[in-house]
Structure formats: C-alpha cells, structure tokens
C-alpha cells in the first residue's frame, strides 16, 4: 500500500464484488444446475436456487457416471486430461521461454525470419486447418498417442510473445552486471531471468493448463482408442443428440467436477503472484 485512502479501498471492493457477481454468475448457474432434478430446466425461469439432488447427481457421476453413455471411467479420463494439460503447459513454456531468450538477448542471422515464422502462428485454430494437420499427424504415426495429443497444440506463439514482452522490460543493467561478473548466457538465464519470470510463468501455466485441460476437438479427431478419452470429451458425450434434451443436472455435475483440477491449479499458482520480486532482486 502506497497510502491509505479509505474511499478508494471501498471503491475497489465495490468494483471487485460487482465484477465477481457478473463474471462468476454463469459458473454459479452451473453449480446450481448440478443440484437439481433432470427436468427442472425448461419449464419456467432457469433455476437460481439449489435443489435437493446434489448428492444424487454427484454420486451418479462418481459411480456409473459418464460410463452410462459408453465413456470410460472418470478416473481414466481425468488422468488423460491431466497428462495432456501438463504436457502442453510445460512443453509450451519450455520451448517458448528458450526461443524468447534467443530472440531478445542475441543478435544473429535470420533473427527476423525466425521471429516472423514464430509470430504468424499466433493465429488459425486447429479446427480451421484440421484436414492438413490431421494428415501430418497420421503420416508421422502419432494417432492414438500422447505425443499426437499434445505436440501439435504446442505450436503457437502466444507464450513466446509474452516472454519476449517481459524480457524487454527487464533492466539492461542486470545483464551488463552479469557480464561483468563473467556469467555466460545460460548462467544469466538460469540465475536471473528465470526467477524474474516467476509471475509470468505462473500466469502462463494457469492459462495453458486450462487450455490443455479443455481440449476437445483435437483429441476427438486423432484418437480412436477410448483409452485416450479426455474429460471434456466425456462431458460432450452427455450433451445429447439432436432429438433429445440432455440431462443437464448430470452434465453440470460433470462440468463442476471437471473444473476442480483447474481451480486447484489457479489457487496453487496464486502463491506465486507476490509483489516485490523485482525489487528484492535489485
């Protein structure tokens, strides 16, 4: 706190409470829906208060659960989602922090070419280029494998871009000092840049983990073995066919359960959002 201004603090609380109410309201609806009976959704206003069926719905999800629709058990799907989310998050952070380091801290031939090759991949989601991408993955023999699930999704420049933006704000003096001390580039990277990037890595990890966790279309396309089912695929199977109305109570119970791991990640990563990292290093 720079100084204490009660009215500003009160305003901040007000803004945040309004923000939370508005932003979290759809999530609230999902939680409420997961406590209701199967036919409470279409005959009046959407339910806004919890119903008595929470236990029933959640135990159904844990028990027979998604398997009534022919999907594998929840545990296996959760594990697959976890493997996929972690590979995508860690893989992407690793390759992009290295390439951002190269682009910002070195001057070399073809630097601009490399820069643009990477940065045009900011665009075009998989759905739009699905046929050629599928062909490449099939030709490489990566159908039905964790590699096929995660590596093609690592090809995107957002993370590289974020690290580049951050590295550019790191004071030049830090690097000059390191050079004076005789530290090589990798030592500088490991001892100074990496610790400084903690907050950004944490934010990225949250985003990428959730991105990987929520993947649906790509795993659906490249797997035929139910052993690779992810949890979102399982949820989609509950959202029924054209002619029937889904059992929203089950769907939402599954949605809430599938949200838990990402929420755990968010809460855990928050510990890294601490002010003053930059200052203590200085």
């Amino acid at each position: 706190m720079v100084e204490n201004r009660p009215w500003l603090n009160a305003l901040s609380h007000l803004v945040l409470i309004t923000g939370v109410v508005v932003v979290a309201f759809p999530v609230y609806l999902a939680v409420i829906a997961s406590t209701r009976g199967p036919n409470d959704f279409y005959s009046g206003l959407v339910p806004l208060l919890p119903g008595p069926h929470a236990l029933e719905n959640y135990s159904a999800m844990f028990g027979a659960g998604l398997s009534t629709s022919g999907a594998p058990p929840l545990g296996l799907m959760m594990t697959n989602s976890l493997i996929m989310a972690l590979s995508i998050a860690l893989g992407k952070i690793a390759i992009s922090i290295l390439s951002a380091f190269a682009i910002v801290y070195f001057r070399f031939r073809f630097r601009l070419v490399a820069f643009w090759i990477i940065f045009i991949t900011l665009m075009l989601p998989v759905e739009v280029r699905i046929l050629p991408t599928f062909k490449v993955v099939a030709d490489l023999g990566m159908l039905n494998s964790y590699a096929g699930l995660s590596i093609p999704l690592i090809a995107s420049a957002t993370a590289t871009f974020l690290f580049r933006q951050f590295f550019l704000t790191v004071p030049d003096e830090l690097m000059e000092a390191a050079r004076v001390d005789g530290a090589g580039p990798m030592k500088f990277f490991r001892d100074i840049l990496l610790p400084l990037s903690r907050t950004n890595i944490a934010a990225l990890f949250v985003i990428l983990f959730i991105y990987g966790w929520n993947q649906y279309l790509w795993p659906l396309m490249i797997t035929t073995d139910t052993g690779y089912y992810t949890v979102v695929m399982g949820i989609k199977r509950l959202v029924a066919v054209a002619d029937a109305i889904p059992q929203w109570n089950y769907v939402m119970a599954a949605v809430v359960l599938a949200m838990l791991p990402p929420v755990v990640v968010v809460v855990a990563m928050q510990r890294l959002f601490v002010r003053g990292l930059v200052e203590t290093e200085k």
């Binding site: 706190m1 720079v2 201004r5 500003l8 603090n9 609380h13 923000g19 932003v23 759809p26 999530v27 279409y42 206003l45 959407v46 690793a94 390759i95 992009s96 390439s99 190269a102 910002v104 070195f106 070399f108 090759i117 990477i118 940065f119 045009i120 991949t121 900011l122 665009m123 075009l124 989601p125 759905e127 739009v128 280029r129 050629p132 490449v136 490489l140 590596i151 093609p152 090809a155 420049a157 871009f161 933006q165 704000t169 690097m175 050079r179 580039p185 907050t199 950004n200 985003i207 966790w213 649906y216 979102v232 949820i235 929420v263 968010v266 928050q270 601490v274 930059v278 200052e279 200085k282």
Partner: protein, 293 residues
C-alpha cells in the same frame, strides 16, 4: 524490432535455443498451412477423389458473395467490441485487486470462469439469454425491454460479444495482475511523495509501465476475437439472425468443417492468414513504438 542495447555474442547457442519451437512450428503449422494455400486453388470433393486446379476461382467467388463481405463487416464490429470490453473490464478488476491486500478469494473467483470448457460456456450463456427461460431477458422485461436475439440483429450482436468477452476477462485480469505486480512499488511511493494523487499516478506510472503487458494482451485479444470465438457463436446464435453474427472464422468453420466445402474454406483461411499477418505487422511496427520497455 525491439532488442537489447547489449547482447550476448554466441553464434551457435541462439539457433539451438530456437530449434524446438521452430521445428514444432514448421511441422505442425507452416506445413499444413502451406497445404491450405495449395488447396485454395483447387476444386475438390471432400474425399479428395476428384481434383481440378481452378486458379483464383474460389477467391473470386468469395468476393462476389454478399455473405462474405457482410462477414467482414461483422468481424470488424465484433472483434473491436470484444477486445475493448474484455480488456477494459480485465484492467479495471486488476487495478482494484492490485490496490488491496487480501485478494486471493476475489482473484480465484474472477479466474474461475476460465476453467469452464468453451463448449459448456456457450451453453451456459444460451441458458441465460433464452427468451423463455433465461434470467437476462427476464430482468430486461422488468425494465421494459423485449429481448429477442433470435430475430433482432442488435440483440444477437450484444449477446455474442458479451458471451465471447466473458472468458477473456479472466484471462486479461490474470496477466494485468501479473504486470501490475511487476511494477516496482518504490516508483509509486516516490511519486506519492512528490504529491501525485492516485489518478495521476495511474496515468503517469502505471499505464506506461503496463504498456508491454497491454501490448501483449491487445495482440492476443485481437487474435482471440478473430479466431477462437466460433465455439461460442456456435453454441449461442449460430451466426444468426440473417448472418448478423457470422464472423469470418465462423464462416470458415461452417463452410469447411460443417459443410465440407474445402476449396472455399481454404481460400477463406488464406485470406484470414493475410489479415492477421497484416494486423501483426501493423501492431508491431506502429503500436509497439508507443510501448515503453
């Protein structure tokens, strides 16, 4: 392009560092994208059994299609609205959190929506805005507004903009918080000692120091609004009524993925790629000059 005043001298290391990312990009992005470019000059049935080379006919057809030109306009309105709304709200919430001490609960609740799978997020908004059972039309009726996104293009546009911005608010909030936390408190303290009030400090210190983050988010949000919003549109309005919410990427998705018109959808993808390359160049060349590193 921005770089450091001083750099490391090493002739092999940078290439090694870049290798993994370049390899993945080439194999899984550039190569398939190249095939899309080739496909855009072909007329082909979905199974690839009959192929003829048609030069620019797929493109010509697009530019004679009033729906396509309409989608261009829709995309401009849609993308700017989504970017402004989600960046604005994300920043306001992040600044509020940055002022306070005990904020973990707030942050967790604000980031939470990001954990909802996109396909499900669309469904939740569909429920909220449904004219018969939705909460939003119910509230609006109380104040005398008759909400009907099935027939009113304005309502439909507002609907998709809000539904698409929703998740992105969490995203922007998270990175704005990270950016704000990286601003040294000492700078603000110094300014406060010099007698600068909170508003003045915000504009003279926070805004400039936040500009690298803002630039990153601006680019990412533009790309998001242009490309990643079709699951939301698909779950809410499906581009209706009368194409008033059909954006360029939703049209690619519809024509290519749903209707399997490969030549046209490839041509549309190529145009999209060109638009983004152009936007990226513009953003890096002109917008970035105002960014302070």
């Amino acid at each position: 392009m921005q770089t450091k005043r001083t750099v490391f001298g090493n002739c092999v290391l940078p290439y090694l560092l870049l290798l993994p990312q370049l390899a993945v990009t080439m194999v899984f992005f550039i190569w398939p994208a190249g095939q899309a470019v080739w496909q855009s000059f072909l007329q082909q049935d979905p199974f690839g059994l009959r192929t003829s080379f048609v030069w620019f006919r797929n493109y010509e057809r697009l530019f004679h299609d009033p729906n396509y030109l309409n989608a261009l306009g829709v995309t401009v309105v849609f993308s700017i609205s989504v970017a402004v709304l989600s960046l604005g709200l994300g920043l306001i919430l992040a600044v509020a959190v940055d002022r306070l001490v005990k904020t973990r609960l707030y942050s967790a609740l604000i980031v939470w929506p990001y954990a909802v799978a996109p396909a499900v997020g669309g469904v939740l908004w569909w429920f909220m805005a449904n004219p018969t059972i939705g909460v939003v039309p119910y509230l609006l009726r109380l104040v005398g507004y008759d909400w009907n996104h099935a027939l009113s293009p304005t309502d439909a546009m507002i609907f998709v903009v809000v539904a698409s911005s929703w998740k992105q608010i969490s995203y922007n909030f998270l990175f704005f918080v990270a950016g704000l936390q990286a601003i040294p408190g000492s700078l603000r303290e110094a300014a406060a000692i010099d007698g600068a009030g909170p508003v003045k400090r915000f504009f003279t210190i926070t805004v400039p120091l936040l500009s690298p983050t803002s630039f990153f988010l601006l680019v990412v949000n533009t790309v998001y609004a242009l490309f990643d919003t079709f699951p939301v549109i698909d779950a809410t309005t499906k581009g209706n009524p009368q194409q008033s919410t059909t954006t360029l990427v939703y049209k690619v998705y519809q024509d290519g993925f749903i209707a399997l018109d490969l030549g046209s959808s490839a041509a549309q993808s190529v145009i999209l790629m060109l638009i983004v390359v152009l936007l990226t160049v513009v953003q890096f060349r002109w917008v970035e000059r105002r960014v302070q590193y």
